[in-house]
């Protein structure tokens, strides 16, 4: 179960994620990003309500980061402690901008 709320205007996009980002739900986020990122220069992911992330979720974040590196910036806000720890273990805190 992953709930994605998205809001995009004037080249800025905000995605608020709620629930689990795993093998089952990662394709949903991938699809949502694909539909939205065209022309976006600033992508913000609000992680406050994200409870769980597995490598499948990290892969989608990595792909998004790579894409945004080409067309603008991406940042993650309100990242919870448990999720942050996963980023640290995998070195993702070095490649993602976590605020």
């Amino acid at each position: 179960m992953l709930n994605i709320r998205r809001n995009a205007e004037n080249g800025k996009a905000l995605f608020a994620l709620e629930g689990r980002l795993d093998t089952v739900t990662a394709p949903d986020l991938e699809q949502a990003l694909k539909e939205t990122l065209e022309g976006v220069t600033e992508l913000t992911l609000d992680m406050e309500k994200l409870e769980y992330i597995s490598s499948a979720g990290l892969r989608v974040l990595l792909a998004a980061q790579k894409k945004m590196n080409k067309q603008g910036k991406m940042k993650l806000i309100r990242v919870g402690e448990t999720i942050l720890e996963i980023f640290e273990v995998t070195g993702f805190n070095e490649i993602l901008t976590v605020e």
């Binding site: 409870e51 992330i53 490598s55 499948a56 273990v89 490649i95």
Partner: protein, 530 residues
């Protein structure tokens, strides 16, 4: 204390037209000074506007002990909507119910249960001031339901004669006591359902401060009982109770076969007023008493109370205890029972001394018997820790499913359920979740490709502090996922590879990960301290 209670009747409508005058009248009736607890009797109050509510606010500011009683449902709705019911005690006007001539369908220590119409029952209380008790029971029953205990909740409180009652929907239900009395051949089924529900209740972690502590309650009666024991015995018992660790896990507090009912195919737990938190021993001691302790001197007591004889009670208790401890080892079960009975007898002795004047020969003999037994046990027992006698289920819990991505949620739910009793943190739960996902998805995607096959997931929790061992077994292509080189996690995004990350995370998040290929099976084992 020291405040005077003054009852002020309110009537008709209070709105902007008469609010100021009403306030003056009320203040006159209250007189000067703050040492007054006003009770606004709203029996005849039909309507109150915001101007009227402000009058109440002023009064509340002047006399913080303000209460409102006898509030009709229309006015209650206004008070509830505006938050007044949170700010001050507001008591609804109770519907009056007569139970005269109604069928009595149950009788307990505290009161009777009457059937007032086809689908409604009222549980009445003997004591005139039962309101607090009813409120408490409603509140804890609601809490239990929210936390996942299948139970019945009363939906209204009514006035019955001089006391109060709570209204329940009539469940088309049979108690386990009745089932055991009428269909003794269902004993083993009853034991299983009874113990499954008990374990479920005990697995629930209750937020701090919501329920009383079973240990505190036991310490109270243990201290009172000290004076009937020889020098040193009481201190030893108190010390052993003191040493039982505090626990946030729920206990029911009166878990016997009349409080477990079968409604359709659902097993429900009722009578929630004794709900507490604590070590399972505080539940088991009362269970022992329900079946054997109370009737130790006079076997007829259990027959009168439960409806089945003492032999049945003993068999049911013994089977249930063994099922609860997960042990078939008689020595262990008996040793656990001795520890449990130390608290059981103290509880019984205290209860008898408080509720009986001991004028009766039988009461005196019973008390003497319990005291002798307690002293004998205290000579033998040195700890009340039950953990040494509880065994994990042989081989742990196991699930076999088709190895496919569609089954991931099922596997995750299964593992979570197994870990629930161990009470592990959300963080550890997530770490285990990540590892389980990676390993199971690996099997699902590669082990049998392009064909299909099954995977076994086994969870064992053991030790203290508890550790989980999760084993994945498949009969697919031999493959050691751990042999893969770890990805370089220091590379920038552009150079990062997507593969290998899952296994790497698993290694990092678990305390130990091991692989072996044996008898045609890939066996991957995860270990994690909980």
């Amino acid at each position: 204390m020291g405040t005077r209670q003054i009852i002020v009747p309110l009537s008709g409508r209070i709105d902007s037209g008469n609010a100021a005058a009403t306030e003056r009248q009320i203040l006159e009736q209250l007189g000067p000074g703050e040492a007054v607890s006003p009770v606004l009797d709203a029996e005849k109050l039909e309507y109150i506007s915001s101007a009227g509510l402000r009058v109440i606010l002023h009064l509340k500011k002047r006399n913080p002990g303000l209460r409102i009683t006898n509030v009709s449902s229309q006015v209650y709705e206004i008070l509830e909507m505006t938050g007044f019911t949170e700010m001050m005690p507001v008591e609804k006007a109770w519907k009056v119910v007569s139970v005269e001539g109604c069928e009595v369908i149950g009788e307990g220590f505290k009161g009777r249960v009457y059937r007032i119409d086809r689908d409604t029952v009222v549980k009445t209380y003997k004591n005139a001031d039962a309101l607090e008790e009813i409120r408490h029971e409603r509140e804890v029953a609601r809490l239990a339901l929210i936390l996942g205990v299948p139970t019945a909740i009363s939906y209204d409180v009514v006035r019955v004669g001089d006391s109060y009652g709570s209204v329940f929907e009539l469940l088309n239900a049979r108690s386990f006591a009745k089932i055991l009395a009428e269909e003794p051949e269902r004993m083993d089924w009853c034991v299983k359902e009874y113990v499954d529900l008990l374990k479920k209740v005990h697995s629930i972690v209750v937020p701090r401060g919501k329920l009383p502590s079973g240990k505190e309650q036991a310490l109270i009666f243990v201290r009172r009982v000290k004076e009937c024991l020889p020098e040193g015995y009481g201190d030893k018992l108190e010390r052993m109770v003191q040493e039982i660790p505090e626990s946030d896990h729920m206990i029911h507090g009166d878990y016997h076969t009349k409080n477990i009912v079968l409604s359709g195919d659902e097993v429900l737990l009722i009578d929630m007023d004794t709900l507490a938190v604590g070590d399972p021993i505080f539940e088991l001691e009362q269970m022992y008493n329900s079946y054997l302790g109370f009737s130790a001197y006079n076997p007829q007591i259990v027959k009168d109370f439960q409806g089945f004889d003492r032999e049945t009670a003993e068999a049911f208790w013994k089977k249930s205890l063994r099922a609860y401890l997960n042990t078939a080892d008689e020595g262990k079960a008996e040793a656990a029972e001795e520890r449990i009975r130390c608290i059981s007898y103290a509880d019984l002795i205290d209860w008898k001394r408080r509720y009986s004047d001991l004028a009766d020969e039988e009461d005196r003999e019973t008390l003497a018997l319990w005291t002798r037994e307690l002293i004998r046990l205290l000579d033998k027992v040195d700890s009340l820790d039950l953990r040494p006698f509880m065994e994990e289920r042989a081989g742990g819990d196991e699930l076999e499913v088709e190895a496919s991505g569609g089954n991931l949620a099922r596997v995750q739910a299964f593992v979570e359920e197994c870990l629930k009793t161990a009470g592990c943190s959300l963080k550890t739960q997530m770490h285990i979740g990540v590892a389980v996902e990676e390993i199971f998805m690996n099997i699902a995607e590669y082990a049998y490709a392009p064909g299909k096959g099954s995977a076994i997931v086994r969870v064992e929790v053991s030790g203290s502090p508890a550790a989980a061992v999760i084993t994945f077994i498949d009969r697919g292509t031999p493959y050691d996922p751990l042999a893969r080189t770890d990805p370089d996690v220091s590379l920038p995004a552009e150079e990062r590879e997507i593969g290998g990350l899952g296994v790497f995370m698993t290694k990092k998040l678990m305390d130990d990960v091991a692989y072996e290929y044996r008898d045609g099976q890939n066996i991957l084992t995860l270990k994690k301290q909980l």
